[in-house]
Symmetry: D2
Subunit: 303 residues, 4 copies
Amino acid sequence: MPLSPEQRAEIEAQRAQSQPTRRVVAPGMEEHLYTAYPVLDHGFVRVIDYMGDDAAICQAARVSYGKGTKSVQNDEGLIRYLMRHWHSTPFEMCEIKLHVKLPVFVARQWIRHRTANVNEYSARYSILDREFYIPAPEHVAAQSEVNNQGRGATLQGEEAARVLDILKADSARCYDNYEAMISQEGQQGLARELARMNLPANIYTQWYWKVDLHNLFHFLRLRADAHAQYEIRVYAETICDIVADWVPFAYKAFEDYRLGAVNLSAQMVDALRRMLKGEEVTQESSGLSAREWREFEAIIREG
Amino acid sequence: MPLSPEQRAEIEAQRAQSQPTRRVVAPGMEEHLYTAYPVLDHGFVRVIDYMGDDAAICQAARVSYGKGTKSVQNDEGLIRYLMRHWHSTPFEMCEIKLHVKLPVFVARQWIRHRTANVNEYSARYSILDREFYIPAPEHVAAQSEVNNQGRGATLQGEEAARVLDILKADSARCYDNYEAMISQEGQQGLARELARMNLPANIYTQWYWKVDLHNLFHFLRLRADAHAQYEIRVYAETICDIVADWVPFAYKAFEDYRLGAVNLSAQMVDALRRMLKGEEVTQESSGLSAREWREFEAIIREG
Amino acid sequence: MPLSPEQRAEIEAQRAQSQPTRRVVAPGMEEHLYTAYPVLDHGFVRVIDYMGDDAAICQAARVSYGKGTKSVQNDEGLIRYLMRHWHSTPFEMCEIKLHVKLPVFVARQWIRHRTANVNEYSARYSILDREFYIPAPEHVAAQSEVNNQGRGATLQGEEAARVLDILKADSARCYDNYEAMISQEGQQGLARELARMNLPANIYTQWYWKVDLHNLFHFLRLRADAHAQYEIRVYAETICDIVADWVPFAYKAFEDYRLGAVNLSAQMVDALRRMLKGEEVTQESSGLSAREWREFEAIIREG
Amino acid sequence: MPLSPEQRAEIEAQRAQSQPTRRVVAPGMEEHLYTAYPVLDHGFVRVIDYMGDDAAICQAARVSYGKGTKSVQNDEGLIRYLMRHWHSTPFEMCEIKLHVKLPVFVARQWIRHRTANVNEYSARYSILDREFYIPAPEHVAAQSEVNNQGRGATLQGEEAARVLDILKADSARCYDNYEAMISQEGQQGLARELARMNLPANIYTQWYWKVDLHNLFHFLRLRADAHAQYEIRVYAETICDIVADWVPFAYKAFEDYRLGAVNLSAQMVDALRRMLKGEEVTQESSGLSAREWREFEAIIREG
């Protein structure tokens, strides 16, 4: 279900507003403000507000009286230093507020990140819309055979068709019955706080979600990761693109020292040093388990 | 679905264990340990572990070298003083770990309390059981006419029967289809992380939930309240009974200064003082809105 | 020590900046931005940034597509309802960032509020300024005789003079010695991370402190209270004045339902109802302890 | 100042107590309970209480009905997997409560770790003891020349002696004056909440500190690190020894994947792969800054 004309008009009205402020302004972020970026079949992410920019990270780290920036080059160096050495508090000085529409089963993963502020649309108070996530055919995947907690190859042919038919039919029937139960025509109508229990986890909900940049990076590191479930990863990737325009130095440091970085265990570092001295190291001689050795090989050989 | 014989045996084995410890022991809590107290039709609450007792609250408040208790009477007085004057940190020094089985729509409310630790059963990793919350007939209630966010009178006759039929039929069908989609007989089998999206919000999940006593009291104040949804309130009430045996002084203080207490606004206090001086105070002369006046009247006239 | 000319110039440069933004702007707050409001003898509070306004609280509570406001009157009613019924998450959607200069012993109380972000000036990394809090003569008070944790009457005459002499002399000597130890003239110079241990708790430090509105209200309720130590209360009061201009509806609701409100225990409510029915209630017949009875009398008779 | 005979007796009484419990018991931790392990010249760390053991981590990860352990070997494998893949919630299911005596300047660093519960000895309410941290001569170190935030070589001869003389004399004088100001002999006596401001940051304070295992590991990773200030590192190291006996599998995993591990940036991983293929990589061709290259060399060449 696309945005309604009223919703579009409200968003356009927000984008059209412009007022002077004494606060720091992040030009890259102003461009994104309020726009609903589509995610999955009915979801979106849109920025409602933000606080701070790259310079604000440095300003806080230096506890400055003024803007706190020295040169642009100094600022980038400082930000990279802070990220590399796990200084978290300066990044907490930036804040972002998002409006997100997402399936309930994705919301249930997302909410596990506790250091954030959330206002969710209340199905006790309001009636939910008839909107369900139905995966695109290329994302209807089999259970992974190697990872209990993941998916494997895309399902094909009749099996895939059957899955999609089931998801559509059950969503539709559950929603029809939800409407029938709460209807007040010719009957009292079931309480909404009860009726909602008939709705499956692919129904869409929405919330306002506010988080500081440090905790957002933590969320993105886990959820933009290749091991995250596809349906939450696409939200994380959309947010990554926005953050890259908001705080370009911080985002680049995040890419280099977190997203694209690897953690080597004490044993892996030891094996590595021996390899670099020319020694032949095997799993047996490394002290790593078979599983760790595979992970180690993937790190040092890939690419 | 009652506990399986294997589950009962595991719980009995836990209850049978007894080892010496140098830690403080709360006799009232030892009695509850591990027992699964039934809540709703398939849910339960059981205590897995705890830390501290009433004396531990005083010991921390006094930063003691020893047990930190003076006399039992002194301890109760101190605990009541701390509660009355909003000292939160001594209550944070007690901790409880629960295993809870609960419907997903209740879990979604519960998880909003962020200052706690949670490990939930993973439907990405595992297959959920066929267990759905179906309200008892006396809890199938109409939408409230005065409160958008609540329920009114119990539904009767055909309407109630229809609701129960719908809930049962949709739960059963959705679960049948969930099973059919993940089945690996004659097909690849859909990934569990996808199949779960077909399950409605009355399916049961379970988690380990750990929280300190201060934050538990905050949870109980909101969720054991008459305005909380019945389906979460029964969990809160079960926990209240357990806590009353664990830390009797602290629980009594919580009842007196939180659960049974009322908050009067500045205007209400002013109206009250005038009333006690014998003045006739009306809504108009009180400065309260009509809604606040009703709330005020309910406080001072009830009982 | 007043702000240096350089610091004044930096602040003026910040105040002079004005850029267009699509974000919501709180006019009352724009006026305060960056200005250093003096607190105590050398301290200050100044707003560095903010996010949101009264309307943003309603927008989040309604999970709106647009501005989320209906009428101004509706908004105020909603905000008062949310405050009265302990809804915390919509207030978390506003955020404020302050630069505060404050004595270390005040900072040690302040930091106990954990749900905030802090960057403190580092005395490991930098040299602290020679600035110490010396109370004004009217705040040099005796130990309270009724409250172990408070102060009583102002000290007079010689005793007061002696206290001020001691505080000044010890501060000066400790700082002289701090400087002497870290000096690199004619010696290596002690590490700053060690030298700082010679500085007394009335030395000033400074930090950037960022917090959401809900947690700020919690801080203000405890620290703008009459029982809070004077030296932190003046900071809280300064912040109260700023917040009143930033989110006037929310601040008024906070005054009515928190700052000026009272909490009556279950026993107090019972006593009250009996009194309003005309019954004579005494401490003995109330079930309240002597201490609680005094607190109760103060609530209902004052003013 | 050693423990007083009364304090020793209280600790001995705690250690002598033994009661049966149904809870899990960690034998290695029972041995440590209540004992005050000396740190610095007057400080200590002692365990007051704990919840959980290695098996409790697995039990929560598996959301078990019973003990949740399979075989000891399985448990260790699961714990190592959880640590390696950044699963934090199962480690949060263990909790520890410590009584710590420490200098105020150390307490000010320590408290920056916000996800913990704290009750500190109140200098508003009580009189502090005359106990100050005076570094041992081998820890009186010069400011580092390469690291603004660290110390270099040990000071020698007269300079060292002068530092120690200053620290001792200023501590003694400040405390004498603190006592003189609060004395009620022949005068009213200054309020304790004011008098404390005359005390330097090397005075000892004490607190009860409670934290879950995940957040404790985070604290230990930062504070047991070679870059942490010596005076907090010795506390972290003492706690490491205790934790190793409490949850041996989890602690070993922490050593391997956190304490002894390294984080390689995306560029470092790339350089490494090229090196392992036999390519000659220099700082210039690596894309690393000079500073990062030094850090990289230290990682791969050391040992």
